[in-house]
Structures are given as C-alpha cells and as structure tokens.
Assembly symmetry: C2
DNA sequence: GCTATTTCTTGATCTATATCAAAAGTACCG
DNA sequence: CGGTACTTTTGATATAGATCAAGAAATAGC
C-alpha cells in the first residue's frame, strides 16, 4: 500500500477497489530543493499528496514574507481558490528540501469524481478537517501569547524544529525570529 | 425563492428541482436574544442557514471569552467537528439578537445526500470557500498590525459595527476593546 | 421615563514583543 | 577544504498595544 492509500484508508472508510482507483491516477512527481510548486498569480492546476521533504507556503507583505504553513509528509497540497474557484493563488510554495509527491492534474482530478462517486465526499471530509485546523489556528493566534504559541507548535509538530529554518517557524506562529530564539533559550 | 435557495443558487450551479429538494428539508427555526445555539461539550446535530439576526461564536480561555466569529444573514452555522467527526464542540454560539434560521437535523442532513447525489459536492464547495476565508484570516493576523486589522474588518463587514457590541469585534480581530476604541477615534 | 446595568471612551502606566546591530554559528560551493 | 553567505543568538533600545481605573454614554428592565 502506498503512503497515499494508507493515508486515505486511515482517515476515511473507503473500499479497497476505490483506493486502487484513486491511487492509480496519482503519479509520483518530485521537486528539487529551492524549486517552486506555485507562484503568486498562477492558477494551481495540481493536487498533490506530500510523500517526502518539506515545503514552505508563504506570501509577501511589504518587504516581509509571511510563512503561512510548512507542508510535509501526509499533507495534501493545492490551492482551493484555484482548483475550485478558478482564481489565481496569492502564495509561493517552495521546496525547502528535495520533495516527492503523488500528483494528479486538475483534469484528471475532475474525472476522478466520475469514476468514483464517493470522491466528493472523501474530499469534503478532508477539506472539513483542514477547516477545523484553521479554526484552531485562528483561536490560538487570538488567545495565546508568543510563549504559548511556541510551546503549542513544539508539541504538535516537533519534527519541524529539526528540519525547517527557525525564522520560518517564527513567522508561521506570528513572532520575530529573535523572539523565537529567546523562547527556545528560556525553555532549555 | 427563499433566502436559502437564493444563496445556494447564487454560489453553485444547481438545478431548480435540486434546489427544491434542499429547501424542502430545511425548516424555519428561531432563537431568542441571549439564547444558546450550542454550548461546549455538546455534539452539534444541526445545520442551519442564518436568515436574520446576529450570533456570536466564542470560546472561553482562562477568564477571557475569545470571539471567534460573528454570524449573520447568509452564513451556514454548525460545527464541522461534530457533524463530520462526531466530536464535542469547544464553542458557545449565542444569539446577540433574536435570530431566524433555516435548519436541518443531522439525520435529515445525512439523508440529503441520498436524495440529492450532488449534495456532497455542493457542501464541499461551501466548506472550501469557508476554508479560504480562514486562510485569509490567519494571514491577516500574522501580517497586519491592529490598525490594519480594524480597517479590514470595517471594509469587509461594515454592518457589524452597527449591530454588534464593539468589545466582541475587538476580540474577533485580536485586540483589546480600548485599542479598538482608540482606533475608531483616530479615523473619525 | 427613570434607574440599573452594561458598554464605550479616555488617560496614565506597564509590558510583551519588535527592531536594530553585531557577533557567533552553520551550511554551501567553487 | 576555506571563504562566502545565510541563519541564529545575544544585547540594547524602542514601541504597539495591554492593563488598570474612572468617568461618560448607551441600553435594558421595570
């Protein structure tokens, strides 16, 4: 069973033959360190499942780059704005390390629903779960001081601290790199 | 055409007979000012479309109450955590004014998909659009100072400033009521 | 309509976190 | 390897926004 099949199987009740249909359409693709999966203004026409490596999703704001998210093994990657509403993305998505994905194009993706009637439902559940993650992030940003946001990220995604430049993590949880550095020092 | 039919029709390509099926299942319900739509620990078993009035979604944190969202005419109201993943809600949802909704129970909701094959797709698109709203909120919280967050809310949802206590709006955009008061003064 | 209660404003402080600057550490590349 | 360029740390200072406290205004209840 591929990671993709495994992931879908572990989250949603899907029959083996449905799994096979899904994973037969996704093709293994890769991106070299530093390469861009997506740039602002483009219309994302891919849906990828992250197999290995780390990718940074960020958006420029003035002379800053705001890191929105770090994707790694187990996440789906796309821009819903593009795939579903045909709008250009505001994001850069850049590989921080060499990355591998299972990838489907937008056209294949559209045909997936024809071949697999439950696909919309699976996708709905997947997007719903990501929605609740975003709800929690908003709550955390509204309610937690910097120290608590740092602790929370450390608990939820400890592996990021070994693999990703700390300045990007600082941005992702809404603080300066200096503040993150001091928080790390104070809990050592 | 009811507000609900109108809303769905304006966002998604749905046939008239599909619309009729959808709106025949939703029943008009209401909630008095101060009443609770949902309290923490409950499992939300309703999906409502907001017809009139204002409702505050908030979550306690220490001795604070963090306002997560203000719902009004045109929003769907539920907790995805409950409806899709059967988990208890962390939220209070309380009517700030008398409210009316078009409401469907969870069981009817489950049967909707049987009667209307495209329902999962419609729902998926709806959740996807809410997801992008949350993405933008996270970006705004990460990248904007208080004054800019205030301006942004004022531009996007000006009606809230007449209908909703300002302290709740302040909480929703991550600042103290005093700060919001001063920002309002400075742009008058 | 009048009082009680809640909400909003204003001013005076305080503090968490940003910014700036430079040193120390680490990774990359010819 | 050894130098160049990033990244992280550390210290000094600045500042946005919080908190505290009190008065003014609005709203709700009788």
């Amino acid at each position: 069973m591929t990671e993709l099949e495994n992931y879908i199987h572990s989250y949603f009740k899907v029959f083996p033959d449905e799994l096979t249909v899904i994973s037969s359409l996704f093709k293994l693709t890769s991106l070299k360190k530093g390469g861009y999966f997506l740039k602002p203004g483009q219309i994302c026409d891919l849906l990828s499942f992250h197999k290995s490596g780390y990718m940074r999703v960020f958006q420029p704001k003035g002379d800053k780059k705001i890191t929105q998210w770090i994707s790694y093994k187990g996440f789906f990657i796309t821009d819903l704005r593009c795939i579903h509403f045909n709008q250009p993305t505001p994001y850069y998505m850049q590989a921080l390390t060499d990355c591998e994905f299972y990838t489907i194009t937008r056209d294949e993706y559209k045909s997936l629903a024809d071949r697999l009637p439950r696909w919309h439902e699976i996708e709905k559940l997947c997007i719903a779960s990501y929605f609740t993650v975003m709800e929690d992030r908003v709550f955390n940003l509204l309610s937690m001081p910097a120290a608590e946001r740092y602790q929370h990220l450390l608990n939820e995604h400890p592996e990021l601290f070994n693999q990703v430049p700390l300045q990007y993590l600082a941005s992702m949880i809404g603080m300066s790199p200096e503040t993150l550095s001091r928080l790390r020092k104070s809990t050592r």
